[in-house]
Symmetry: C2
Amino acid sequence: MENKLAIIGLGYVGLPLAVEFGKKIETTGFDINQSRIQDLIDGVDRTLEVGSDELKQASKLTYTTKFEEIRNCNIYIVTVPTPIDEQKQPDLEPLVKASETVGKVLSHGDIVIFESTVYPGATEEVCVPILEQQSNLTYINTDNCDQVLKGFYCGYSPERINPGDKEHRVTNIKKVTSGSTPAIAEKIDNLYKKIITAGTHKATSIKVAEAAKVIENTQRDVNIALINELALIFNKLDVDTEEVLKAAGSKWNFLPFRPGLVGGHCIGVDPYYLTHKAIEVGYRPEMILAGRRLNDDMGSYVAKQVIELMTKKGIHVVGAKVLVMGLTFKENCPDLRNTRVIDLIKELSDFNCNVDVYDPWIDKEEAKKEYDITPVDTLYDGEYDAVILTVAHDEFKEMGVSKIKRLGKSEHVLYDIKYILDANEVDGRL
Amino acid sequence: MENKLAIIGLGYVGLPLAVEFGKKIETTGFDINQSRIQDLIDGVDRTLEVGSDELKQASKLTYTTKFEEIRNCNIYIVTVPTPIDEQKQPDLEPLVKASETVGKVLSHGDIVIFESTVYPGATEEVCVPILEQQSNLTYINTDNCDQVLKGFYCGYSPERINPGDKEHRVTNIKKVTSGSTPAIAEKIDNLYKKIITAGTHKATSIKVAEAAKVIENTQRDVNIALINELALIFNKLDVDTEEVLKAAGSKWNFLPFRPGLVGGHCIGVDPYYLTHKAIEVGYRPEMILAGRRLNDDMGSYVAKQVIELMTKKGIHVVGAKVLVMGLTFKENCPDLRNTRVIDLIKELSDFNCNVDVYDPWIDKEEAKKEYDITPVDTLYDGEYDAVILTVAHDEFKEMGVSKIKRLGKSEHVLYDIKYILDANEVDGRL
């Protein structure tokens, strides 16, 4: 039987995947966001991950918001977001809703592949029961695949999309695959091999694949947390962190992480999925949660450092005008998801500073909607008591120190989170 | 003036360094250990770091235990160990003693370079005052080097010796250098360049160089601790850690650390130097100390896992014979310093098991003296209720699963800390 694909969720993960499959296989892109679908039909990807030329190349890709239109598909790939709630617990609602939708259109022999980051076990503990209930079909897996059953299969193939990264794309990042039976694992592996030129790694089970994904970003989070901790120590010891990191970096196996805010949809989120599950089975992670605490505190730490530097220069904090340069969670992309620049802004506002945010990359409506922030359009010289470089957008690097310093009043504080400027050009840095 | 070198301390660090310098410059190797000096005069290095051929090549190297014989030197390089005490606090006694010795023979214009791992600031806060007091000379540094002073200079150039590593040797590992004035930093840098083919990295200050060294091993320690924490979680979730690590390792930037015991003279020790100083200045490290706790607990954890597996198989724990294969802190070297296999042995003994230790690499007298352990010479088939592979010596890999399993009784537990065997060949692993 011919493969007919449905991609559920057309965000940062789903769209690039749908486009690649849509170059080769009949693919339907499904999203509940009507304006997103209309944009895509018009050839526009507001996430900037896929250019309009590439959208056109996906000649076998169609878009829909109607679940009835994916009923005739036989492979469903779910790429909805898996965020955390305000208590930093997994928010599985998008995944649950997607499972309900897919469950309604499932037929005997269909395959449902999840790409969303989850904790180990989530696919089979959370999604499968919903699929079974909605479809009235049986989940076919290694334990029952020798029986004659009317049922569906599952797979898990974690996304490794790196937003804004033009070098590592969906096709040239090796992809982990897995399936609920050996034969289906092989079929899913072959499916992805059609588009992934970097090859695949077939994991031994869905749970192993889920675990692999969640530890990738956890490892990154913990490594940045360690460097952040070192920065806190070295600030107290009056040693420049970057100079130490450069010296240590001369050793062949020193890992070149840098301090900073840890935001975004994955690094600052995925560890909470793993720790949620670990606590559920009776182990409270020490390293991972310490890393999360440290990283989550960095915005507030930087704000306090800036306030301290201001008071040392005799600048009044109350009513001070502070410019925050950069709101996205990483450089050179418009992605505002889970940006921790927010913590810095909030802390400065708590000190009664007036904060202006400037970011040439962001969608202003999104900034207003998500964070109630109205970014400034234009920068004026001599306006600010403090300027904080929070994101290393190329535009800020190109401005250089003189243009940036000119934005400050004659007496001002310049703080550089991202080592955009040299140490001797700024008043403080991580 | 011609350089005349003295190397203070001829252990794992000092001897390879003395040999390299001794090929080019008049060098005196000083150690307080009379039998070590006699061995070296006889052309034998019991640490196995330097072969007898290489010892001979160092034609300008002489050895002594008498400090009077290094009085005419003008550059002193201190390479004594910096261990921790039982409260896991820095034990600076060897460093203090070495500073006293050097202080007694210091002359105006001499340079003292420290290679021992310390916390940032230790050279100038601990060693320099001793040198000044013993020598009645002034420490010349950036703050006073424009004055005419009768004094000495200091430098810090951290060792990066990796015991047992035949690939990364003293000459081909890039070396960080630093000095108490810019001119002396340059001189020290040039001195090391004579022997380090991989080049040098001149740090901006002694403190930066000290900090760089201590974070290198801290980073490694924290990374292994994270993997150990993941192993604890995955054991509870009934997922094989190695399979997950392999799947995650298919991502381009996943770091290939593995779980295990963390022993040795540096990785398990250096982080305590940094945390000691951090706590002194008012910051209690979260990540680093969590990492130390986790890694220090692994020996006990493995013992409990083995006990659990034994009881599941109906094997009586009290009086059980357990074979521990490997006592060194790492594979294919005789280095017993700070081996954490000890914790495993202690925990098993606390459960009233009879533990045999087998290790073809170790010096038995040292094992007896340091740990009160008398290793067995010969292994007999059918002897053991449990066999634990603790160190990945090549000899154990060559034995293979059948020979290793034959050591056990008909019913036994085989546990593999180091992934020497395949998952399906053992009863448990990390």
